[in-house]
């Protein structure tokens, strides 16, 4: 008997193993089974129109994921066995990993929880399957990131308690509150926030140029987990685009709701990525690409193509896109200056860029760096050389929405903060920008509850009234080891020992005026 060896077509296989695994409920109403599908106002008339262009089924998913994991862990082993941390460009680089582990990895876990939840809430089987795979991917990402960085934790400070720190440290409330905002929204807003605005529109900026930078700085472990995670991301991005198109095609009433979510989540994501801007421009000793160039390629060019494609549904580019495009000249410098003056309260070190690095910044930012930012850094450098390293000993005003200190400047005037404020039900609220102020105005009840770290310290909820007590007892930062200036830090000394260099004590870590 002749056997038919012909495989099922991808399309048929996907149909059998995904859609056909679902069933119509007989003794419960759909509304009771999927109670969160309607309340946001999104109208779905036909879930069968949901497209998964990868048509990935669970059997193929496990096969490819297993192969990725084998490759990844072989490299982790090789990296650890060969003391890969000794081959990075410079130990300053590790500070970017500290920020990554405390700021980004817990978001992967948040995404795992988020997709597990919303995957349960859709009555369409295609959407449930896609969310389930993504939930598993996100769990894999947080695990592989922790494994990759556990090697660095053996050799450098500040990596020892990332989950605790994520929940408590002031600047980590920026990523934490971003994800909490998304996870506390309905399932369709969550997908628009994370799958579309974050994954499709913005994460390339973190995972592509930054990871290429990790490679260029000799960090084999990080580039490998980064790219392994990002290989899942191609699927996530596709889901992000498909979910937007699907919602827009289902009903015209969905268009204004989605436009509002795109406006909101583009701005929320842009503010979150300001942390990445300084990682790229200031924390990679070997430079690959400036933040500005990355923004041009991965937002202006790619986002331009994307939003042109979505025009046919009546969607326009995000409301504050022009402000964000202007910000590419400024935000990395503004963020680094902020962390330079507040690193008595961070789990990582900061420093003044070297002369060579400042020249690179001048070349990359010919219209802004020398005019607005170099004088600030050179002033601080001169103080540091006199043994008076500058720290700002007063806590900053935080934006009520993004929770970043209100440090951003007017789009057309980099000498002036773009501070906004308003009164709501007798209380005054402060914002970093029109973008964040708009988000508040739309849903004030959500943001009046914001857990703002500075106010929490002042209310006495953080185990102490002075910075050192809060940092040590509440944040679990090992004061004098994890925080303060890089030059003269234990990490710096250890690196000098690895490289057989003599320690230079002239610009020591804990100067006179530190808190």
């Amino acid at each position: 008997m002749a056997t038919n060896k012909k495989k099922l077509s991808l399309k048929d296989k996907y149909q059998y193993l995904t859609r056909d695994m679902a069933w119509e409920p007989s003794y419960q109403s759909k509304k009771d089974i999927f109670p969160q599908e309607d309340f946001e106002g999104i109208k779905i008339t036909d879930w069968d129109k949901w497209e998964d262009p990868f048509r990935l089924t669970m059997d193929a998913y496990w096969k490819y994921q297993a192969e990725k994991e084998k490759k990844l862990y072989a490299i982790f082993d090789a990296f650890a066995q060969n003391n890969g941390h000794q081959n990075i460009s410079d130990a300053r680089y590790v500070n970017a990993l500290k920020l990554f582990l405390t700021g980004v990895s817990p978001l992967e876990y948040g995404a795992f929880q988020g997709y597990s939840r919303v995957g349960r809430q859709f009555s369409g089987a295609g959407a449930r399957t896609a969310c389930q795979m993504q939930a598993i991917d996100e769990l894999r990402h947080v695990q592989t990131q922790i494994h990759a960085m556990s090697h660095y934790n053996k050799h450098f400070n500040g990596l020892h308690d990332f989950a605790h720190m994520h929940d408590r440290i002031w600047f980590l409330s920026v990523p934490k509150s971003f994800f909490d905002d998304a996870r506390s929204a309905g399932p369709f807003e969550f997908l628009t926030a994370i799958s579309f605005s974050f994954e499709y529109v913005l994460t390339n900026l973190l995972f592509v140029p930054f990871m290429s930078g990790a490679a260029y700085n000799g960090d084999m472990a990080t580039v490998t987990f980064g790219f392994s995670a990002q290989s899942d991301e191609a699927r996530h991005m596709t889901l992000g685009l498909e979910v937007i198109k699907f919602m827009l095609e289902q009903h015209e009433d969905n268009v204004p709701i989605i436009q509002h979510w795109i406006d909101k989540w583009f701005w929320r994501g842009y503010r979150l990525l300001s942390l990445v801007s300084m990682m790229m421009d200031y924390m990679l000793p070997n430079k690959v690409m400036s933040w500005k160039d990355a923004w041009e390629v991965y937002y202006e060019q790619n986002g331009g193509a994307l939003f042109k494609d979505l025009e046919r549904y009546g969607i326009r580019p995000p409301k504050y896109q022009d402000e964000a495009n202007k910000g590419k000249e400024h935000i990395s410098h503004q963020l680094w200056a902020t962390f330079y003056q507040y690193c008595q309260a961070t789990n990582f070190h900061t420093w003044i860029p070297s002369e060579e690095e400042m020249n690179w910044l001048s070349e990359q930012y010919p219209d802004t760096f020398d005019q607005y930012y170099r004088p600030r850094f050179e002033h601080w450098q001169a103080l540091q050389e006199k043994g008076e390293r500058f720290y700002n000993n007063t806590l900053p005003q935080l934006c009520q929405v993004c929770q970043v200190p209100a440090l951003f400047t007017e789009p057309d005037d980099p000498t002036k903060l773009s501070h906004r404020s308003l009164e709501h039900e007798g209380e005054r609220y402060h914002f970093c920008s029109d973008g964040c102020c708009d988000i508040f105005k739309y849903e004030p009840d959500k943001y009046i509850q914001a857990w703002l770290p500075v106010h929490q310290i002042y209310q006495g909820n953080c185990e102490g009234a002075d910075v050192e007590t809060v940092v040590t007892k509440y944040y679990h930062i090992d004061a004098g080891r994890d925080n303060f200036e890089y030059l003269g830090s234990p990490d710096h000394k250890r690196w000098q020992a690895i490289k057989g260099q003599k320690p230079d004590e002239s610009q020591a870590a804990k100067p006179k005026n530190a808190a």
Binding site: S9, K68, Y216, F227, S231, T238, V288, N302
Partner: protein, 90 residues
């Protein structure tokens, strides 16, 4: 305005054959090498043909194998047994 479809691969042994196949089948594409990655971009449309990849790599190749080496994409995805297409339609 220009609308670039793009795909980014890890710079590894597998991906190099895929990149060769893409370059051959998409003469309008530009290939950029950056640390650890290869980015290919082209106006509006990029296609990966299974047949061309198999010819380059010298074995049977499943289109979904690209999931192992891809880092990022830009464009609407259309995939079947023989092709992987990225395209901006508007």
């Amino acid at each position: 305005m220009s609308q670039l479809a793009f795909i980014v691969f890890q710079d590894n042994d597998n991906a190099r054959y895929i990149v060769e196949a893409i370059a051959q089948d998409n003469p309008h594409a530009e290939v950029q090498h950056q640390p650890a990655l290869i980015r290919i971009q082209a106006e509006k449309r990029l296609v990966i043909n299974r047949a061309t990849v198999e010819e380059k790599i010298g074995r049977e190749w499943d289109v979904q194998e690209m999931l192992l080496d891809v880092i990022s994409i830009g464009g609407n995805v259309d995939e079947d047994e023989d092709h992987f297409i990225l395209e901006w339609k508007n």
